[in-house]
């Protein structure tokens, strides 16, 4: 009865159309906003590549007060800190996810999962302050570096920050592995260890790769904590001890300097140019991840 009513009532049909239209507009506006942001970034950032000579822009000295806009040390600084952070967080995160999903008894899982989610909610400035007052002196005293404000300190804090993301996503991926895989492995006489590392984790690898990429995205874009603990010295991290020396990341540079620049100046455009470089880097990382996952799927992995 009601169904008939809905279909025949002209007013209702009109309302239906309106609702659909509004929801559609809202959905497409998300795409619109991303496009607008990208266009804005391009408009403000691209002039930098024309205003500053190429060898200056990709030179090794960042000193914007005197028109030295070498972004190379900043790019390398970001990469050094981020890659080290993921190097620390990946084994810890995947191992924790395996423990929570496969090994821990039910009661422990019930406690651990919410705790890990709370970890994700700690504001980055709090972690940065924690890093500055506790981790930095620890690094200096234990590792004998001249200062505790080093790329490693930043990487440690970033690893801690990306852990919740990596654990949660990796755990979901493990959860999605069908029970029949585990049963099959057990039936073949595999031990629990063999089941986990030879069957379950490989089956969930696409999810684990996603987890790492999300963690990487979180780490490379992080600003506040990094600005407080890495020392922000724009030196070229090319020697072996660079990990134990200060570094300056792209995000910290934009955050520290955007407040002072005059709108439309060369420095202003270069800061947006750095944003553009950051955007391209993140895009390449995500693309690589997507391609890897796609290829693995085609090769007959899970799903």
């Amino acid at each position: 009865m009601i169904e008939d009513d809905v279909l025949t009532n002209g007013k209702t049909r009109w309302a239906e159309f309106l609702i659909e239209a509004v929801i559609q507009v809202l959905g497409f506006s998300a795409i619109g906003f991303v496009t607008l942001i990208f266009v804005f970034l391009l408009r403000e950032g691209v002039p930098a590549f024309f205003e500053v000579r190429f060898d200056n822009l990709f030179g090794t000295r960042w000193y914007p007060t005197f028109e030295l806009f070498g972004t190379f040390p900043l790019i390398l600084g970001s990469l050094l800190v981020t890659v080290t952070a993921i190097g620390i967080a990946l084994p810890l995160g995947v191992a924790t996810a395996v423990f929570v999903r496969e090994v821990a008894p039910n009661w422990a899982r019930e406690i651990l999962k919410p705790m890990i989610e709370v970890l994700a909610g700690i504001p980055s400035v709090v972690l940065g302050f924690f890093g500055m007052t506790l981790v930095a002196p620890f690094v200096r005293e234990r590792l004998g570096t001249p200062t505790g404000l080093t790329a490693l300190t930043g990487a440690l804090i970033l690893a801690y920050m990306s852990l919740p993301t990596i654990i949660s996503v990796a755990e979901d991926a493990l959860d999605a592995v069908p029970k029949s895989y585990r049963d099959g492995a057990r039936a073949m006489g595999a031990t629990e260890w063999q089941t986990i590392w030879r069957v379950v984790v490989p089956a969930a690898r696409s999810g684990v790769v996603t987890a790492v990429m999300l963690g990487l995205g979180r780490a490379i874009g992080e600003t506040m904590a990094v600005m407080l603990v890495t020392g922000n010295a724009a030196r070229m991290p090319v020697t072996f001890d660079s990990l134990f020396r200060p570094a300056r990341t792209m995000t910290a540079t934009v955050a520290a300097e955007m407040g002072e620049v005059a709108q439309g100046s060369v420095h202003y455009h270069v800061l947006f140019g750095i944003g553009l470089i950051l955007f391209v880097l993140t895009f390449v990382i995500n693309l690589t991840a997507a391609v890897t996952i796609f290829q693995k799927r085609r090769r007959g992995g899970l799903r």
């Binding site: 007013k11 309302a15 040390p73 922000n232």
Partner: protein
Amino acid sequence: MPVLGLTLMNCLPITEDLCSNDCFYRRLLVAGLFLLILTLGLAACGSDPQDSTPDAPTAETIENKGSDTLVNLALAWAEEYMDLHPEVRISVTGGGSGTGIAALINGTVDVANASRRMKPEEVEAAEANGVSPVEFVVARDAIAVVVHPSNPVDTLTFQQISDIYTGKITNWREVGGDDRPIVLLSRESNSGTYVYFLENVVRMGNEESDLLFSPGTLLMPSSEGITAEVSQNPNAIGYDGLGYVTPEQKVVAVARTAKGPFVMPSVETVNNDSYPISRPLFVYTAGEPTGQILAYLEWVRGEGQALVPEIGFVPLQ
């Protein structure tokens, strides 16, 4: 907006008898969406800067922003002045001299604090924006060179400080200290302290000089960052306003030339001009100040000077 929302909600049930229950909820949803769009639209209009800054004649607010060196002093002045004149509200924020001046140029603050003079291009930008900045000296500041309390180095010449900050000297041994690497600390380049120190100490006042801070210099986002690192790290050397020096840091006596005299920064040595790294502190207003802003600045340069030594700066004579 809430009133409008209520009235719409109230009249909706009246239409209930006109169609089925199902239809009513759809209408409610449509009305909800409509309201949402309306709210967003109105909010967008409301945030128009021309609407949100009316010249309210009641309690006048003075917006004050700029130098982190001056921020504690500006806060102390503002609090004291608001106690004396409850009809005036003064809001003080830091962020660096460059930030304050940029805000003055953009017309978002009434008074900008700066620990350096405005640059000619900043004045130009202000004039282009229809703002003609007026300068006032409000106090004097000395920049102290600080090291860890366990560091045996007591004195440094300008030449030594310059060599240290440009990376020519990298070990404390070379200036009479222990065999330790030197960790250089500086403020970020939006700090007036940074510009002053670069021009007057690293370049030793030589305008032809193109010396720069060493790339290994750690740029700290705040004075607190420098305080924390210098008081923890025996390798560190830093510089900061005298107002920020805490007992956990050791102040070094400074001389312009190797012959001396080596002078410790203090209220006396700054006032009699014997301490070589001292400077005036400024506030800038957009045009000649009038009304409450004028009254406030007169008070600051008069009675307000009594607060200056308490914060660690040097009052005007």
